[in-house]
Amino acid sequence: MQKLLMRKRDQLTGLVFVLPAILYMLVLMVYPLVYNFILSFRNLTVMNFKNNAAVFIGFENYLNIFRDKDFQQALLQTLWFTLACITVQFSIGFVLAVFFNAKFHLAKPVRGMMLVAWMMPISVTGLLFKYMFLTEGGVINELLKVFGLMFGSPPGWLIDPKLAMWAVIITNCWIGIPFNMLLLTTGMSNISADIYESAAIDGCTVFQKFFLITVPMLKASILSVLMLGFIYTFKVFDLIFMMTKGGPLNATEVVSTYSYRQSFTLFNFSVGSASAIILFVCLMTVGVFYLRMIQKDEAM
């Protein structure tokens, strides 16, 4: 009896500590989420917002969105952006993680400094790269010229629809590489040096050590870096909004900028909501795997 009381008391105290945050999240996250879901099945626009004339229209928004050529393009471009970024970020991040895991004087300071890129306001990063990618007066074209890599006329990074996506991918990788590197380095530093030593005694080469020890031992880190990378990259907004606003000619439009444009440029709130839901569903398909993975090693 005494024990049961104690247990109840313990539960109650816990609840008191958690309750403020729960209530906050219920009002400002769960409710809006449900509201968003309902909105996506109605036809709310700025026109019928004031007089509450929006009606239930079922899946019409979703059907229209999937039929919309702009959205199809945005979805494909989001996928392409994500895949390109993850590939570049992860491979360069991995190489750098291995490199900086070695012991030499500048390893730690340089690795630390690179992280600044990741912490900067993305709006400033976007602005800065917009300046650097200018066709005339941009330092990237100047560098290409200096190193003799410019063939023909200077590339219009942000005004040529064929190049704009590459410009935003490069910028995003500048942010993503240090992040990937850091997470992988942490994983690597957890591999005990003894294993490498005994492998060396057994006569393993550097490559064998890498592929037979480092990669398998890092499996969990690698998976979570890739999944987190997907989640963070797929929902990109600030960077593209700052650099191109989805242009030129929709060449860099992604699902999040499409959703924003629907809600706050065209004021088709319901269409914006529905496209945000589609974005969320895409994220959660990967997110579920990530959650499963981290819940396995979480002692609850």
Binding site: D10, Q11, T13, G14, L15, V16, F17, V18, A21, I22, Y24, M25, L28, M29, L33, Y35, L39, F49, L96, A102, F104, V110, M113, M114, L115, V116, M120, P121, S123, V124, L127, L128, F129, Y131, M132, E136, V139, L182, L183, G187, N190, V225, I231, K235, F237, D238, F241, S259, S263, G272, S273, A276, L279, F280, L283, G287, Y290, L291, D297, M300
Partner: protein, 288 residues
């Protein structure tokens, strides 16, 4: 015999030294490439208007000029945007830290009912795209008359910061021995005073990391402030960038000075707390 071993050792150690120097050199190259954009934002912000418009790009300012910085720091629009940024960042820091830390402690120390679900919800929230809450929150704030106010962006930003704190601080509190709290209770603390007087001070490293991150969440926010606050006077620096681009046109030295000032707090925080930030980050993002 001894001589030979000695010689071999010396050759080997000098080889290792050369290899280390080579790696230092490569590291410098990597740093050069990665930090170049930061160099560029700074160096461009010290160029004169003439030089910024010059077709021949200079990699070092020909005439060092502080005028872009002076112009920005004397521009009223800039100053109130700066003030707004500070208000939004500080408010988010206080709000999220208070709510997030107490929740993290409750989920770590007690047998709170529904723990699994609550933690899961916090984890899912971290994956949500900003645009998912944007439209409904916009409509809610419109009805509540909260557009063009500071609470609007702050409340929205905190929906991201609170889960972040819970995810990072819960393992932190879990690692503290339960006996600490029990001893404090015997000494006359209740659950709450034990939390504020004993547990929080012990967890201060994690606490400071979280506060810094929440400050930066608020400082870096663009989406919410830009959407909820249409009035320039209520917008922080990030959301007013476009206004400044209209104002200064292609005077990129001005725009870069503006950007550089926005980066300064990030740099200061980073240099001061690098150790904790990296530790806090990795404990939250990857579970080992």
């Amino acid at each position: 015999m001894m001589d030979r071993v000695d010689k071999k050792l010396r050759v080997e150690s000098s080889r290792a030294t050369v290899r280390k120097l080579g790696m230092d050199f490569i590291a410098l190259l990597v740093a050069l490439i990665f930090l170049f954009p930061l160099y560029w934002i700074l160096i461009s912000s010290f160029k004169t208007d003439v030089e910024i418009f010059d077709k021949n790009i200079s990699f070092w300012p020909r005439n060092f000029s502080f005028s872009p910085w002076v112009t920005q720091l004397n521009d009223n629009d800039f100053l109130f945007s700066l003030r707004n940024s500070l208000i939004i960042a500080a408010s988010n820091m206080v709000l999220s830290t208070v709510l997030g830390c107490t929740a993290a402690y409750g989920l770590a120390r007690f047998k709170t009912p529904g723990k699994r679900v609550i933690i899961l919800v916090f984890l899912v929230t971290q994956m949500m795209p900003g645009s998912l809450l944007l439209t409904p929150l916009y409509l809610m704030f419109t009805k509540a008359g909260l557009l063009n106010s500071f609470p609007a962006p702050v409340m929205a930003i905190a929906t991201g910061s609170i889960p972040f704190i819970v995810v990072i601080m819960r393992p932190f509190f879990l690692s503290l021995p339960k006996s600490l709290d029990e001893a404090a209770r015997i000494d006359g603390c209740n659950a709450f005073t034990s939390f504020t007087r004993i547990m929080l001070p012990i967890a201060r490293v994690g606490l400071v990391t979280c506060m810094v991150f929440c400050f930066l969440h608020g400082w870096n926010d663009l989406l919410y402030s830009m959407t909820f606050n249409v009035k320039t006077a209520m917008r922080p620096l990030t959301a007013n960038i476009y206004k400044f681009m209209d104002k200064y046109g292609t005077k990129w030295n001005q725009i870069m000075a503006y950007g550089a000032i926005l980066v300064i707090p990030v740099l200061v925080i980073f240099v001061g707390l690098q150790k904790y930030i990296i530790g806090g980050l990795t404990s939250g993002a990857v579970k080992e």
